[in-house]
């Protein structure tokens, strides 16, 4: 048997060739390791959709980061997830605007430098110092996007004129065809608006709270079901539900783009705005990477991505973002009324005082509202 040697290798490598190859490998190692550098994981706590590829894949590829999303449904759920995790678990937190204050009070988020973000370019003055986002002159959260909640309906059974009031939910033909997004806050807020509480919709004394409960109970016979995100989608899509309380374009927008005859409008009694904001998790070791990502999302390109988010659309909050959306996707900008001069332009609606920012009950606890919600569901 002939044993192979390095000089006459059966692998076809001479000693000289082997040394050359080995040397080359050693010399190129730093470059290889840089190219294959460990990707930085960024733990994100957010509503569903924000960590999906349509939102982050491009950024991940360009910045060698990887988002690890943990999705929640509802501010309570978000607060609980943070409360039950060690500090620093979440690097990036997307929160509904009304819960930012609680995040800050509990010490879950870092202070942010206003100079890092395009506050001067915000579409509305309110967005610059949004309630709860600032405390003692310090900024803790950056508004990313928003959306409006009003009357969501099927155009085949509710006319555009009828949809100009929450009254349409009581239309006799809709008995058993009105669905609820299963969360007390938006629905009871809408009932409060319907009762004429206007800007004081969350600040209800006992008499007004009783009246809101009575109004809501009056709607019960119309109700065909209580749904989560998927159920709401299905109910509207297959026509089992002809109107939906507690939602807005964030759901009908997706269906509308898919060709379903549904729409959302802000009725004359007013609508509710949900706001989503980014914060940096307290104790995060990746604060600079997170800041960079938030800056990207606030850039025109990021704002367009946010407006087009596959899971649910939202409107741009910066002027440059809106301009970029109009340029990149005029159809979506038109559909979502993000055009100056449109009667349902989100900014116009705010200026007209028809939009009220979603908040938590001021004179009752969330528990009281939830208790009533359970009672309502069982009625």
């Amino acid at each position: 048997m002939i044993r192979p040697t390095l000089n006459s290798s059966i692998y076809g490598l001479s000693r000289r060739q082997l040394l050359k190859s080995g040397g080359a490998a050693v010399l190129t190692t730093p470059f290889v390791s840089r190219a294959w550098a460990a990707t930085t994981d960024i733990n994100m706590l957010a509503w569903y959709g924000h960590g999906e590829p349509d939102m982050v894949a491009e950024y991940e590829a360009a910045n060698n980061v990887k988002f690890v999303p943990k999705y929640y449904a509802g501010g309570d759920n978000m607060l609980a997830l943070i409360a039950q995790s060690p500090p620093g678990t979440y690097d990036l937190i997307l929160s509904d605007g009304e819960f930012v204050q609680q995040l800050n009070l509990a010490g879950y988020i870092e202070e942010m430098n206003p100079a890092d973000y395009p506050l001067d370019d915000m579409l509305h003055e309110d967005f610059k110092q949004f309630p709860g986002h600032w405390a003692d002159g310090k900024m803790y959260s950056m508004m990313l996007r928003g959306g409006h909640l009003g009357v969501s309906y099927n155009k085949n059974s509710v006319t555009a004129e009828e949809a100009t009031s929450y009254e349409c939910f009581w239309k006799p033909e809709l008995e058993g065809k009105v669905g609820h997004f299963d969360w007390h806050l938006p629905t009871l807020g809408m009932m409060s608006l319907y009762n004429g509480n206007g800007a004081g919709l969350w600040d209800l004394d006992d008499a007004k709270w009783d009246a809101v409960q009575e109004t809501t109970m009056g709607l019960r016979k119309q109700v065909g079901g209580f749904f989560d995100y998927g159920g709401t989608f299905n109910g509207l899509k297959n026509g089992d539900m002809q109107a939906m309380v507690g939602i807005g374009d964030w759901i009908t927008g997706v269906l509308e783009k898919d060709g379903a005859p549904v729409a959302s409008v802000i009725p004359k009694e007013g609508g509710i705005q949900f706001t989503e904001s980014y914060s940096i998790g307290k104790g995060s070791e990746k604060a600079s990477e997170v800041k960079k990502f938030i800056q990207y999302m606030m850039s025109p390109a990021g704002q367009v991505k946010s407006a087009q988010m596959a899971a649910y659309p939202g409107f741009c909050v910066t002027k440059a973002g809106r301009a970029a959306l109009i340029e990149a996707d005029l159809a979506e900008a038109t559909r979502s009324h993000q055009i100056e001069g449109d009667a349902q332009d989100p900014i116009t609606l705010i200026n007209e005082g028809r939009i009220h920012y979603r908040d938590v009950p001021q004179q009752q606890g969330l528990e009281d509202w939830n208790d009533f919600w359970s009672e309502y569901k069982n009625a």
């Binding site: 449904a73 509802g74 309570d76 759920n77 607060l79 609980a80 409360a83 039950q84 509990a106 058993g176 669905g179 299963d182 007390h184 109700v223 065909g224 079901g225 209580f226 749904f227 989560d228 159920g231 299905n234 109910g235 297959n238 026509g239 089992d240 969330l366 528990e367 509202w369 939830n370 208790d371 919600w373 359970s374 009672e375 569901k377 069982n378």
Partner: protein, 287 residues
């Protein structure tokens, strides 16, 4: 060595029993004890804090909506059990007494197949069939009927429960009836028993234990199911599993959810023990 009861201590037997004892302790007794303890905890700032307060119990048990959900859940699970037992019986009877051995084996295999897929997926597939623009209403439309509302109703919930329980109930009933001594049935017929009387006075009494066990399984599965009442029933009326979700969703009230869960367990224990007692009850004078 004798135990206190005078029976011989058997190390070999104990060795074989230990895994199941260990398993039950780790995965059943331990969590149940923790759940009972948790029902006395308090929630502060969305975080559970250890305490020994009865506030969760008094809060939940004094609420009308809890009892509404409770009785509705008992009712709908009871209806589900009756429906499943009635629908399954003719099928199981045919498989046990009319079908050949190989047909029965194939039928049982086919009944097991649904369990290969996710129950959630099977439930969602009912949307296509039950919705107002779905398959059933589409067919009824051809003969000028409908559309009928089937989703988001108690009927929808029942359809979901049947999806979950019916294959299991058919299997249990079939296996039970297939094990009845056929000579006893033939004897009854030879002595002039009608077919109906044979079923009523011979087959059902002989398969009583298996039938009751099948009914208990059906009730337990329906009583604790979240998917069918939520997705096909539209949460109206909410059952206890939906109430648990609602309770945890708002304010993260896990201790109050624990109260609901304990009430559910107590109910299921009571029904299961009553059922088992009935199944194994001997007639007076019987050995």
């Amino acid at each position: 060595m004798l135990s206190s009861s005078g029976r011989k201590f058997n190390l070999y037997a104990l060795t074989w029993r230990l895994p199941i004892i260990f398993w039950q302790f780790i995965f059943f007794v331990g969590p149940v004890l923790f759940m009972v303890a948790m029902s006395f905890f308090l929630v502060k700032n969305y975080r559970m804090t250890e305490a020994f307060e009865f506030v969760n119990w008094s809060k939940m048990l004094s609420r009308g909506y809890f009892w509404d959900s409770y009785w509705y859940t008992v009712f709908i699970a009871g209806v589900s059990t009756i429906c499943a037992m009635c629908i399954a019986f003719p099928a199981a009877f045919a498989l046990a007494f009319r079908a050949s051995e190989s047909t029965r084996r194939w039928a049982i295999f086919l009944l097991i197949i649904p369990f290969f897929t996710s129950y959630l997926v099977r439930t969602f597939s009912w949307f296509v069939i039950l919705s107002e623009s779905g398959v059933i209403n589409g067919m009824l439309g051809y003969i000028g009927l409908g559309p009928y509302t089937m989703l988001n109703t108690s009927f929808g919930t029942l359809v979901g429960y049947m999806t979950l329980t019916l294959p299991l109930v058919v299997i249990l009933q079939t296996v039970t009836m297939a094990n009845i001594d056929k000579n006893l049935i033939e004897a009854a017929r030879n002595l002039g028993c009608s077919a109906f009387r044979t079923i009523w006075q011979v087959i059902i009494p002989l398969s009583k234990t298996g039938l009751i066990i099948a009914a208990i399984f059906c009730f337990i599965l329906s009583f604790g199911d979240f998917v069918a009442p939520f997705y096909l029933g539209g949460s109206q009326e909410p059952t206890l599993p939906i109430l648990i979700l609602d309770t945890t969703k708002s304010g993260q009230q896990w201790p109050r959810a624990a109260v609901v869960a304990i009430m559910m367990m107590a109910t299921l224990f009571a029904i299961a023990f009553a059922g088992i007692a009935l199944a194994y009850r001997k007639k007076k004078g019987a050995k």
